[in-house]
Amino acid sequence: MAMTEEGRCRELEARVLSYHDVSFEKVLSEIAYLRDTGDSVIAGGSLAYSLGNRLSDLDLVITGPSTAHSSLVPLEHFIGSLRVDVWKLEQKLVEETFERAEDALAGEGLVLGSFGDVDREDELKLLHRIIYGITIDGPHLQLASTRNHRVVATNLVVREYGERMRSSALLAQLAIQADRPLAAVFNARLAVEAALNASVVERGLPFTGDKWLRERLAGQAADLATLHDPFRELPIDPDTAGADFVEEAIATCRRLWGLALQIEDVSRFARWSNPDLSMHEVGDECMLISAKHGVLIGVDLLEAEAWRGLSSDSGKTEPSVWGVDECGGSAATLSYQLYERGLLDLEWERGVPISELHSRKEAARDRH
């Protein structure tokens, strides 16, 4: 039987007490200066989700109808050895984030990174803290809208990670083509882990970020753990084993989500864009210059020709945007290598709609 919120609250406080000898009364006293009448204090994060450990921080959200100001960054507090991170947010910001998430899920545009980047998934985590968190003081937060907030929070993470999976799968295959096996195996592992993270959250578990994946697999999704096993380590020699490792990763993602992730399936949605690189010819030398980054790249005749080819295709002096599937051979390798150096951007024409993820997953489930 699922534990009540009161039971979860008692369990969380017992953990915090055992780790730090700090009661919730003391925590609430420390953060009292941030409170407004009628607001709620919600504990989320790994400790609240029965993960975490003695060195984990206690993540709190303070919000409510009377919350008048929002913090720009999490406000860090230290109570003895306990670190308490507090997001103070006007309730309308919470509601707006759900609304924005629902709108994003309804459209075909890219979601990837728009609710927090790869390193900081702040908004993804916020939505899950509101839904799966434990109210440790104040009334249970009443959200105004009648939308199914749990479904929105879950689907947003599933879609974000579905799109990460697609992006990593493409990069892994492009890296193999460009003879960059290390980048290829690294992205192959990322693709599988994104697929697994999406699967775990789809099962109704709160999102806790990438770092808890293996604990989740071990404790709450053991049937998926075996799919991760071959990818826990990268090959000792990516030069010889890289292509097979990538192929196996693509197959594992497909098994989990049913999406066709071969390069020809996904590259048509992706394009390179050039923020500021320009070609300069000095005597018989050719170089690409990024004034923004203060970077100069020497290119050989073949590469210079490839760059000019991209420019002439676009009808501009320098190429601005070109499809990943529109260039082959040396132009494809050059594009990838410039992206690898942070000098080109990779854009996606469309995201992976949640309906597509669900329907492909259903089909994959039937196949297996």
């Binding site: 003695r54 690294f186 994946l213 604990e215």
Partner: protein, 166 residues
């Protein structure tokens, strides 16, 4: 007097990014390593060790080779490992990034600490904002770097609304 024999803009950008954007997560991951070891959370332990290998490789490449710009996250590690090929710490970074499943969990924290210590000896002391002792000094240091970046016409790698006086 010591003249830094390189372009000021590049030097300040690379040092500050190596320490703040890339280096800082290494100490966060180290805390995860210690917490995970104590709690017997081997999955978290190994994930955090990967993160340390990744952060150390990139910080080294940016600081030692003054490499810029820093590529997007999915390509950063391979870029950095290629860039520090031949460096004495390459192997230690690669082992952690690759995943060291055969190494007993109990040995991993020492490996992580050793690598961070050696990288800090080269790159500089990475800030640790996760402790009461490090919180305010680290923020003060960030503000100093932000001013230096401003002086050479580079944007600060931190939100200016709290790193710079308004």
């Amino acid at each position: 007097m010591i003249g830094i024999e390189t372009d000021a803009r590049r030097y300040v950008w690379c040092r500050s990014n190596a320490l703040w954007v890339i280096g800082m997560p290494a100490l966060t991951f180290l805390q995860d390593v210690h917490g995970a070891q104590e709690a017997g959370q081997e999955g978290l332990l190994r994930y955090a060790a990967r993160g340390i290998g990744d952060a150390c490789a990139v910080a080294l490449h940016v600081a030692v080779n003054q490499a810029r710009p820093i590529p997007p996250a999915p390509l950063r590690t391979a870029w950095a490992l290629e860039g520090i090929g031949g460096h004495a710490l390459w192997e230690a970074c690669w082992q952690l990034v690759r995943g060291i499943e055969a190494v007993p969990a109990g040995q991993i924290p020492a490996r992580c600490e050793a690598l961070i210590s050696e990288v800090q000896a080269i790159v500089g002391k990475m800030p640790n904002i996760l402790t009461p002792e490090g919180h305010y000094p680290a923020i003060a240091l960030a503000r100093d770097w932000a001013k230096a970046l401003d002086a050479v016409g580079e944007p600060a790698p931190l939100p200016s609304n709290w790193a710079l006086p308004s």
